[in-house]
């Protein structure tokens, strides 16, 4: 197992490098540059800006410098657009925010989604099943850019319970709506995945055997059915977790949370090369890491799987 983990981590490095090179090339292929504005800058002003940020050097040199600074100094460079900030500052400030609401969204999505899914499967074709399916489909079709304004309308304007936006260091009042907005569609997917795979497992022979030998239903489900039923769900959870903790542009924009989701989108629009790269690498590294976590979990859940 350990050697497997090391092998996977070793592969991660070239993977990230490929990601860096590919993103760099795509980014440069995009028309426009970080310093293009409505006003065409005089040549000398543009030249000074390009020199300051090293954009006057050949692409290969730029890339090599970039990788060197990241690997050796862990320095992702200055932001080309937010000139008072470095990429390290931006990630250091924004990532804890997205991590917080992403983590809680994950918890809510998993707990509620799995419970709904299990109930729906166990009480298959009952009103509970229909209710659970109805809720999950409703949550799935309601995109978060619709969800967010509705939440604010209800909780801020009508009821006056929660502030309409902001983060304030992550006080609970500010976290509630972002978590609801972000978790619902994930919750719905988890509920449907759990339900269908649970239904399949409940029809398996060993479950019939377990019930035949007189085990109570509760024990059958918790001890025998749940674990195998979770396999497809777990493979979904890895990427879903990364998607949640790297933020959502809708949540960031609508609730002014200050997470990195909105930076990612703005950096692309601003051609803020260093911020694009920084967040891409962060997202890439997290994806690789959590896919590994999922694979390890697999082995734990299903003893048949050996690495």
């Amino acid at each position: 197992m350990l050697s497997y983990i090391f092998r996977r981590l070793a592969v991660a490095i070239p993977t990230l490098l490929v990601l860096v090179v590919f993103s760099y090339l795509v980014m440069y292929a995009a028309p426009g540059g970080p310093f293009d504005t409505e006003r065409a800058l005089p040549q000398e002003v543009m030249a000074n800006l390009e020199a300051k940020f090293g954009l006057d050097k050949p692409l290969v040199v730029q890339m090599a410098n970039y990788v060197w600074n990241v690997v050796v100094h862990f320095d992702f460079g200055p932001s080309y657009y937010y000139k008072d900030q470095t990429v390290n500052d931006i990630i250091a400030q924004g990532f804890p925010v997205t991590l917080t609401y992403g983590f809680w969204s994950f918890v809510v999505a998993v707990v509620v989604g799995m419970s709904l899914g299990v109930c729906a499967a166990v009480y298959h074709n009952s009103w509970l099943d229909y209710l659970a399916v109805g809720v999950s489909i409703g949550a799935q079709v309601l995109p978060n850019f619709v969800m967010a304004p509705i939440l604010v309308l209800v909780f801020t304007l009508w009821l006056g319970w929660l502030p309409g936006g902001g983060w304030q260091g992550g006080q609970w009042q500010y976290v509630v709506m972002p978590v609801i907005a972000l978790s619902t569609s994930f919750m719905a997917s988890i509920a449907r995945l759990t339900r269908s795979s649970m239904l399949e497992v409940l029809n398996a022979n060993y479950i019939r055997t377990a019930r035949a030998k007189g085990l109570p239903m509760r024990k059958v489900i918790l001890r025998h059915a749940l674990k195998p039923a979770l396999l497809p769900v777990v493979s979904y959870l890895g990427p879903a977790f990364v998607a949640m903790i790297t933020g959502s542009v809708v949540v960031d924009m609508y609730f002014s949370t200050g997470g990195i989701g909105v930076f990612f989108v703005n950096s692309a629009l601003n051609r803020d090369y260093s911020v694009i790269m920084g967040i891409t690498i962060l997202t890439g590294a997290l994806t690789i890491f959590f896919n590994l976590v999922v694979d390890i979990l697999y082995a734990w859940i299903d003893p048949k799987i050996r690495y």
């Binding site: 293009d36 000398e44 000074n48 937010y82 900030q85 801020t156 309409g164 936006g165 902001g166 051609r271």
Partner: protein, 538 residues
């Protein structure tokens, strides 16, 4: 500006102010002040920088105006009033300016503000190492050697500005600019504290490091969430500063901004959802305002030699422009009190007399008839044009309705193409269009900021229209004491040749809580200072 007038004005506020504030009333109006003197407003985006020499957009500029004080500042009507300078004198026929600085001005750490701070800041603005995106602004000021230093051909120390003593600053210009003093209000020309900049480098604007000389100091910056500035006790006029704390909340969405305004979390939102202004005005008549904003919206034609030949015919360009019913655009799409435009420079520009453009006075039916006539005269049939715009709901709505007008009235087929902003800039610059959407906003409150755009050598003249007579007029206007006559002529040339089709002059529609007073509604550049605001007791 009259030296005596400036001095007496300052003294009056000083004497007046200190006595009255203690009683919780406004020093000038006598209104009862609220106990809560905080101001919260919407910022559409995280500011890129508040370093005066690096600021290049409106959000950072608004903060910089609170944190730093230049030689001159603006009052609620946009008039120049003393900032750090108490007076100035022009000599050498407007090519030398000497500013006298107030001795009591201090930095937030207690250091005196001196003429050397301005010299340092202005040299910094043109220093290639600073790489200021507003370097062009320094070129525009015509300070001796600014352009050469930016190009790396001279040392920053050779800039035409020097401190004659701690409180006297002398500036040398290459050409007589009557509006040079007005240019000192912009952030690029604000002073910075040399020791702080040199000690902390690019981190000098962090709240824990920053030293500033304005009415406020930066106390908190949380990226993409909020930023706070609080009253600076060291400010020379601190006794008359009423708002204790101003917070900008970054809200990227106009609807979210409106909700938070209604929830009482912000006092000002100037990004209203498109088309909502009439409803909001009906709902909150005391809070909804629409004031001129110095930007002009237009469609430019492509004059490049390889572009569509039909568009090189002035009759076709006129027909296309006449057929646009601007009233439909402002009244039924935008609904924010914008003005239909038939000339380029914004009507609210200071000192600008609106030119009399012939087709502005016609009815739309007359314009349509004339358009058809011109099109027939030109013998153009089955014209197809490509109209490009940058992605946005309202640009799309306007482009769509214009294409329908052209189709119905002139039988012109229009292909609409929209591009994301940075891509769009490149495509427009490369001339890959027949007609392109554009808007120009004033860099300073004078008509030349608009009319310069269409001179042959202007880097932003994306349609590449060129007219020698026009160029001469604009060139001559820069040093003229009464340029209006030239502006009128220039606008007439634009209309006669239909260099572009002006569409509308912008307004700025916003919501402001009624207990916030002192808002500069009449400052067309929308330069507001927190120090002029106050909240009255309800």
């Amino acid at each position: 500006m009259n030296l005596k007038a400036i001095l007496s004005l300052t003294t009056a506020t000083l004497v007046f102010g200190t006595a009255a504030l203690a009683e919780g009333t406004h020093p000038v109006t006598g209104e009862a002040l609220s106990d809560n003197q905080t101001f919260n407003y919407l910022q559409l985006d995280q500011f890129p920088s508040v370093d005066p020499q690096l600021v290049e957009e409106t959000i950072g500029s608004a903060i910089a105006r609170d944190l730093f004080e230049g030689l001159l500042i603006q009052d609620a009507d946009g008039n120049l009033i003393p900032g750090v300078a108490t007076s100035y004198e022009a000599s050498n026929s407007n090519k030398t300016y000497t500013f006298t600085l107030r001795p009591e001005a201090k930095w937030s750490n207690g250091d005196p503000v001196t003429a050397h701070d301005f010299v340092y800041a202005w040299q910094r603005a043109v220093n290639p190492e600073t790489a200021s995106p507003y370097g062009w602004y320094m070129e525009l000021t015509s300070i001796v050697n600014a352009a050469e230093i930016l190009a790396g051909d001279m040392d920053p120390s050779e800039l035409g500005v020097k401190a004659l003593d701690d409180h006297t600053l002398e500036v040398q210009l290459t050409k007589p600019l009557p509006y040079f003093p007005a240019m000192t209000t912009y952030a690029t020309m604000m002073p910075v504290h040399q020791a702080t900049v040199e000690e902390f480098g690019s981190k000098w604007t962090d709240p824990e490091n920053i030293v500033s000389n304005g009415a406020y100091v930066l106390t908190d910056v949380v990226l993409n969430e909020y930023n706070t500035r609080e009253k600076n006790p060291m400010y020379w006029d601190a006794d008359n500063v009423i708002i204790e704390k101003t917070t900008g909340h970054i809200i990227n969405d106009a609807n979210a901004g409106l909700t938070r305004y209604k929830a009482g979390e912000i006092d000002l939102t100037d990004e209203l959802p498109p088309g909502q202004y009439p409803n909001l005005l009906a709902e909150m008549p005391d809070e909804a305002h629409s004031v001129p904003r110095l930007c002009s919206y237009y469609y430019t034609f492509n004059f490049r030699p390889d572009s569509k030949p039909e568009l090189q015919d002035v009759r076709v360009r006129k027909a296309l422009s006449y057929a646009i019913d601007r009233n439909v655009i402002v009244d039924q799409i935008l609904k924010g009190g914008q003005w239909p435009a038939y000339n380029f420079a914004h009507r609210a520009t200071a000192g600008f007399e609106m030119p009399e453009i012939d087709y502005a006075g016609w009815t739309q039916a007359e314009r349509d008839a004339k358009a058809k006539e011109l099109m027939e005269e030109a013998g153009v049939e089955d014209l197809e044009v490509k109209l490009i715009y940058n992605t946005s709901e309202s640009h799309k709505a306007i482009a769509t309705i214009v294409s329908q007008m052209w189709k119905q009235k002139l039988g012109v087929e229009t292909t609409l193409e929209n591009y994301e902003w940075k891509t769009y800039l490149g495509i427009r610059k490369d001339g890959k269009f027949d007609v392109a959407r554009g808007a120009w906003c004033a860099d300073y409150n004078e008509a030349s900021t608009f009319l310069d755009l269409l001179t042959s050598n202007n880097g932003n003249n994306d349609g590449k229209w060129s007219n020698a007579e026009y160029d001469d007029l604009i060139e001559a206007s820069t040093t003229s004491d009464n340029p209006n006559e030239m502006y009128t002529k220039a606008e007439k040339i634009l209309a006669d040749d239909m260099a572009l089709a002006p569409i509308y002059h912008y307004t700025n529609a916003f919501l402001l809580k009624p207990d916030v007073k002192g808002w500069p509604y009449n400052n067309a550049e929308r330069n507001w200072y927190s120090k002029d605001l106050y909240r009255v007791a309800e």
